[in-house]
Structures are given as C-alpha cells and as structure tokens.
Symmetry: C2
Subunit: 220 residues, 2 copies
Amino acid sequence: MLATAKIAKPKRYEEILVAAAECFQKQGFSATSIDTVARHLGATKGRIYHYFPSKVDLFNAVRDRAMELAFDGIREGYDAKLSPVERLHLMTLGHVKCMMLHHSYMQVLLDGLQMQRFGATTEFQREAMERHLHERNTFETWYREVIELGVAEGTMAVRSMSVTLQSFLVALNGPVFWYRPREGDGEEKLNAIAEEVVVFALKGLGIDAVPPISTISRGA
Amino acid sequence: MLATAKIAKPKRYEEILVAAAECFQKQGFSATSIDTVARHLGATKGRIYHYFPSKVDLFNAVRDRAMELAFDGIREGYDAKLSPVERLHLMTLGHVKCMMLHHSYMQVLLDGLQMQRFGATTEFQREAMERHLHERNTFETWYREVIELGVAEGTMAVRSMSVTLQSFLVALNGPVFWYRPREGDGEEKLNAIAEEVVVFALKGLGIDAVPPISTISRGA
DNA sequence: AGGCAAACATACTACTCGGTATGTTGTCAA
DNA sequence: TTGACAACATACCGAGTAGTATGTTTGCCT
C-alpha cells in the first residue's frame, strides 16, 4: 500500500495501459489480442512488448491499476473520523463513483476476479493471483470493520455478515454491469445516479434515513 | 414463451449442453474451444458439430436454456394471486435459488449479456442477440410491474425506479459471482443463504419485516 | 441378409495469435 | 563523425482453433 511510492510511469506506459483496459473491457481477456491493443493505439506489437513482457503481465498491470483506483475511491471515507454510518456513506459514494468514472478499469477488475477461469496458470501467474485475492480481501475487510462498528452501535442491522457483505458489495459494483458512460452526463447527473445506488445499498443494511453529506467536515 | 411447446431434446443434446455450460462458465466463450467441450465429454468435435452447426450456436443454445431456467425460477411468484410484497418475495427467492442451483448456466447467461463484447457479430448473431435483449427486458418488466404495484400500495419505497431496479437485480444475481457450490451444502443451507440475499434486496426496497412464506397458499 | 441413414471419429485446411528475432530510426554523448 | 542505446516496426515461427470433408460404426427396417 505504501511500498511502491508512486513511481511515475512513462507516458507511453500509461497510454498502453488505458488502451489495454478498454480492449479487455470490451472483449474480455482471451478475445483481446496484442495486435488488437496495438491497433487501438495506432501502433504495432513491438511497442507493447517493449513495455510489457507478456500479455498476462499487461493484464495484471491493468488489474493492479484498477485495484489502486478502487482503494482510492473508498480511502477517504474509511479514514474519516466520523460515525460508522457517515464513514460508510462516504465509502460507498466514492466506491460507486469510482465504478462509473473508471468504467473500463473496473470491469476488467471484476472480470479478473472471476479468473480462476484461467485454470492452469503458471506458478508466476498464480503468485499474482494470490496477491490480487489478498488485496480483494483487504478491501472487503475495510467494509466489514465499519459495518461491524455500526452493528455494535445499533445503527445497522445484519443477520449473516458474510452473505450480506457480498450482497452489499455486488450492489455497489453493479454500475459496472448496467451503467454505460454517456458523454452528455454531467457530474451532477452522475452524482444523482450514484446516490440512488448508495441509498439502495445502505437501506439493505437497515440504514433508513441517509443524512446529507454536504455538512460533513473532512476527517483525519 | 409458449411457442416452443417443450419439444424434448435428445439425451446427447442435453449432455453437450451441460458440458458446454460448464466449460463456458469456467473459461469464458473465447477461451473455450470446441475440442475443450468435446474432451470434457470424452468425445470429439464430430459429436458436437453433429448437433450444433457452430460454436456460436452452441453458446446461444446454452444461453437460451439459461434464460428458460431463470424464467422458471420466478414464474410461480409472478403468477401468484397474492399481495405485491408476497409475490416479490416468492419471485426473489426463486430467483436466487435458481442462481445457486444452476450456477454454470446462470454465469454464462450473465456473461452473455455483457457480450456486446462480440462487437463485430454476423447479422444472424445480431438477431439472436436482440432476441436475448428482448427476453431480458421482459424479465425486468415482470419485476418492475410488481414493484410498481407495491409502491402504489405504499408497501415499497423507490426513488428512481430504473437505478433501483438495476441495483435490485444485481443483488439478486450476486450469488453467481460470489457463491461457490459446495457438495456438502444441503437444501436447508442453500435456503438459508438465499433467504439472506432476499432479505437484503427487499430491505433495499424499503420492505423491512419479511413475512414467513411457509403459510402462503399457492396461487393461480 | 442386406441396405441405409443416423451418429459419430479422424484427417485436413486455412487462419489467428503469442512470442521472438531482427531490422530501422532517432537521439545524445564523447 | 561515430558509436551506442532506447524505442519502436517488421518478419517470422510454432501452437492452437473453427469448420469441413470424409471415413467408420451402429442400429433399424424390410
């Protein structure tokens, strides 16, 4: 989380990453060829293989970047010195907006999670996979902590934590599946949709009246 | 919905369909070769191409079957002569159990929905795709109808129908993403998990106290 | 018995894709 | 000017893959 101290990657690297994310999102991993990504860049394979040793490594790089973005989306709420309900509200709002703003990356991320599908992966790939599952677990734990505080406090109601948490997360990830970014959508429109998703998810945890966030002072 | 009057398919056909569903689920469409499905059957390509004209047709057949199963899961609740809340409860319970029981088929179904990913599909494939989107739309409409009745009645609360409906459906589809079928799981264990998902989703619609279903008489 | 079609398996073709090896161009330091 | 190296493009190889064409077995009807 802090070991890689934001080493700025070269511009070309970032370009390839974005193009790869868009291709993987549209067509999935297997259906996306290196040449496809290259054409989408207006380049050839040479460029890509100059920056990434293999297709799997390119995919992992996209996945890692997506995970960073996801953590960035919920970190502020998680770190805030506020009540559990308010923290959860900030986290979920950041979460959903992240899903909508970085649509390509996030879809690749969720696809990658299902990628036990690889089945017979190399040992090196298995290492990347386990690292990814560990990050996923940390992500879930952040939510679990805050929700458990709310339950102890009596402001949230949960019967089975594991099942409810999964349902909760799926609802927050939902926009990746059904939301299509529209150019005409301004930030307010996006916020309105995100807020609707948040309200649904929070009500699922028994949080009825969602307090306005405008008056909340930034914590920590 | 009633045009194809349940023409019993040959046994071999069903075997191939099941094997294909399992392969498509594990590896996705592109990564699954016809030979993969054939090996999984202990056969060769000849068998598969004897029953299905192409790989895409095989995939569509799996998708269609999955859609039938999904409709079967919610039909009883939709047709029941009961209150909107009770109907919705039956629908969601059937929905979630269907997701868990027919895990492979349902994952292929949701994958297939995202398959604008095909991009350049043939015109014939586009026809199958549009038929699929139409069925998907009908499926959503069944839910929308019942929820609108509940809102009119005052027993459900929804701010934005479109966004809430999507969040609701994603939560119900959730088990496809996070539930792994365990051999040890008996029917009661499965029911318990399903009920937790249902409670979360219904609370999201503002339905707090979920009535017991055991006393409900079968309708229609 | 014999013939005939369904139900496959086998062999083959044209094509794609991941990866590598090699060629080419620009840039910068000595 | 001349290496030298980064930053690519191009050509190529081996391993699959969808689909086809053709062989082979099996059950059934007469």
